[in-house]
């Protein structure tokens, strides 16, 4: 039998069922009282009670005087946290790209240098790195002055931001290189088959797919940095946590920690929403048809703005 005949036969007898079974919803699940459900409900109630207890504690201990005295310094601490983290995450991302490129490089020298960098900064505590750079720079004042760098290392915020940048760059480089490796080789080959230059393949084909994989781990890294920024207070940069500890050591009032917790929650929640929006945008090609008009509208709005 020749190919043409097969095609002709298929056209006469299409492989489609003449009648379809009408779609039905799944049967209702059996909701019965099991041990697991009782345990789960009990635990949930425990958490609700704990939250209610905390709120009641805050309401009972509510101290406007304390708020007037330490509120502004807590807010300035929040600002320091935001500044420090956004600066170091952005600069760290810029530094992470060449490091990730080194990790992916076939060149042994670049590969080893990038690996060594990541190995050191992931293998030692951020606290030790901060100490080393801040007080280490203090020991080498003369050579740094001679090199014209002392003005930079004299300032505690600069030292903290510098250390945090180097540290997060190592983690981000690992996230990026993993995500880039995760994109199927066929995507590169397909781009090459179309005759696209390597840079365009990377920017238009590989990077958008890698970012989908990198997005969530990157969000984790930013959250870690927000919490880790408390370390900066050992070199006199008082972030939200540092200001809170300072306020507690003078007022001995436990509620300042609850305020700090609330501020951290607000910060992380804001970040989470930004990340959700970014994910919707990056995966708009994967969304189902019904969801598409909404995504298109959101995309259109962004373009308009």
């Amino acid at each position: 039998m020749s190919g043409r005949e097969t095609a002709g036969a298929a056209a006469e007898k299409p492989y489609v069922a003449a009648t379809l079974i009408a779609p039905e919803p799944p049967p209702p699940s059996a909701r019965r009282v099991s041990k697991a459900r009782i345990a789960g409900t009990a635990m949930l109630l425990l958490w609700v009670a704990a939250a209610a207890g905390l709120l009641a504690f805050l309401a009972r201990e509510w101290n406007p005087e304390l708020l007037a005295r330490y509120g502004p310094s807590l807010l300035s601490g929040l600002l320091v946290t935001v500044e420090l983290v956004s600066l170091s995450v952005i600069l760290g991302a810029a530094l992470a790209l060449p490091v990730a490129a080194g990790r992916l490089s076939a060149n042994k020298l670049f590969g080893a240098a990038a690996y060594g960098y990541v190995y050191f900064f992931r293998g030692t505590p951020l606290l030790a790195q901060t100490f080393l750079i801040y007080y280490g720079a203090g020991q080498f004042r003369e050579p740094l002055e001679a090199a014209g760098l002392w003005w930079f290392f004299r300032d505690a915020f600069n030292c903290a931001a510098f250390t945090f940048t180097l540290n997060t760059a190592a983690y981000q480089a690992e996230i990026y290189q993993g995500a880039i490796r995760g994109v199927a080789r066929g995507q590169w080959e397909g781009g090459r088959a179309l005759g696209l230059p390597r840079a365009i393949i990377f920017l238009k084909v590989i990077a958008p797919q890698a970012l989908v994989t990198a997005l969530r781990p990157l969000g984790n890294e930013v959250i870690f940095m927000i919490k880790g920024s408390a370390i900066a207070s050992v070199v006199t940069v008082y972030d939200l946590m540092g200001e809170t500890r300072l306020a507690f050591s003078r007022s001995f009032d436990f509620q300042v920690y609850l305020w700090a917790a609330a501020l951290y929650l607000v910060l992380v929640e804001a970040l989470r929403r930004v990340w959700d929006a970014a994910e919707v945008r990056l995966t708009r090609h994967l969304q189902r048809a019904q969801a598409a008009p909404k995504a298109r509208k959101a995309a259109g709005k962004q373009m308009g703005a």
Binding site: G138, R141, A156, V234, T236, L246, F248, S249
Partner: protein, 257 residues
């Protein structure tokens, strides 16, 4: 079940045996261990210093057994309140702010605070106006740190977890001046800081800043212990033990007027 009952009986016996031992009184003393010459940890982990010697003399006088616990300065009062130890002997100034949380014994010495600066510094006056725009440092949660925060708003106030780190930054030139307990500063200027730094300006002795001397902090319901320690302080002042310890560290009387 029998095993459980036996165990419970054994535990009850043990508790009864332990009760008289507790009555013999063991006083746990909290200190920082990073504040020479008053309290510091030697390289082999021993606590030494004026505070430690005074505490030991007081315990001997009160005929109680003492046990030292080291604790970071920032958390030293919360840990007392949480019952981790019974008394703080760590060069703590008696201030109104602290009195709202803890009780103090009578003072066991007095210390003014003073500014240190680099030897080639142009600082001569140490009023808030004179130091406006300069960077000034101190250990956080100390009377020096609190005073800088409250009165030196025009300066760049930097607070450090320990005194050593503030000293390191003064030496490195990051700070223009450091406010410190006079005797602690003196110890540093006589040793590691000899080449770089010296005291500048007048000592600050105002009781609104430095409090009513250095005392031992106790929990507020601990009146019995406070009476005993006060009696012991008077006793060692009188029987010469205090002078002996004083002369080991200083060539003047740190008890004050």
């Amino acid at each position: 079940m029998t095993l459980f009952r036996n165990l419970a009986a054994a535990a009850a016996l043990l508790a009864m045996a332990a009760a008289p031992a507790a009555a013999q009184e063991k006083v746990r003393i909290g200190t920082e261990g990073a504040y020479p010459p008053f309290n510091e940890l030697t390289s082999d982990g021993q606590l030494v210093g004026f505070d430690i010697d005074i505490a030991k003399a007081l315990c001997e006088e009160m005929q109680v057994e003492c046990e030292f616990v080291t604790q970071d300065w920032d958390g030293i009062i919360p840990a007392l309140l949480a019952g981790k130890y019974d008394a703080i002997v760590a060069s703590m100034s008696i201030t109104e702010e602290r009195k709202q949380q803890v009780d103090f014994t009578d003072r066991y010495y007095t210390s003014p605070v003073a500014f240190m600066a680099a030897k080639d510094s142009d600082i001569t006056e140490v009023t808030p106006e004179a130091l406006a725009g300069k960077s000034v440092g101190a250990q956080s949660s100390t009377i020096s740190g609190n005073h800088l925060q409250d009165a030196y708003g025009e300066s760049d106030v930097r607070l450090y977890p320990t005194q050593d780190e503030a000293n390191a930054d003064l030496e490195a030139g990051r700070l223009d001046a450091v406010l410190v307990d006079k005797f602690v500063g003196q110890e540093w200027i006589d040793s590691a800081g000899a080449e770089c730094c010296t005291f500048v300006g007048e000592d600050i002795t105002d009781t609104a800043v430095v409090g009513e001397g250095i005392g031992i902090a106790l929990r507020q319901d601990d009146d019995e212990l406070r009476e005993k320690i006060n009696a012991a302080i008077t006793a060692i002042r009188e029987n010469g033990t205090y002078k002996e310890i004083n002369d080991k560290y200083f060539d003047f009387d740190v008890y004050g007027e």
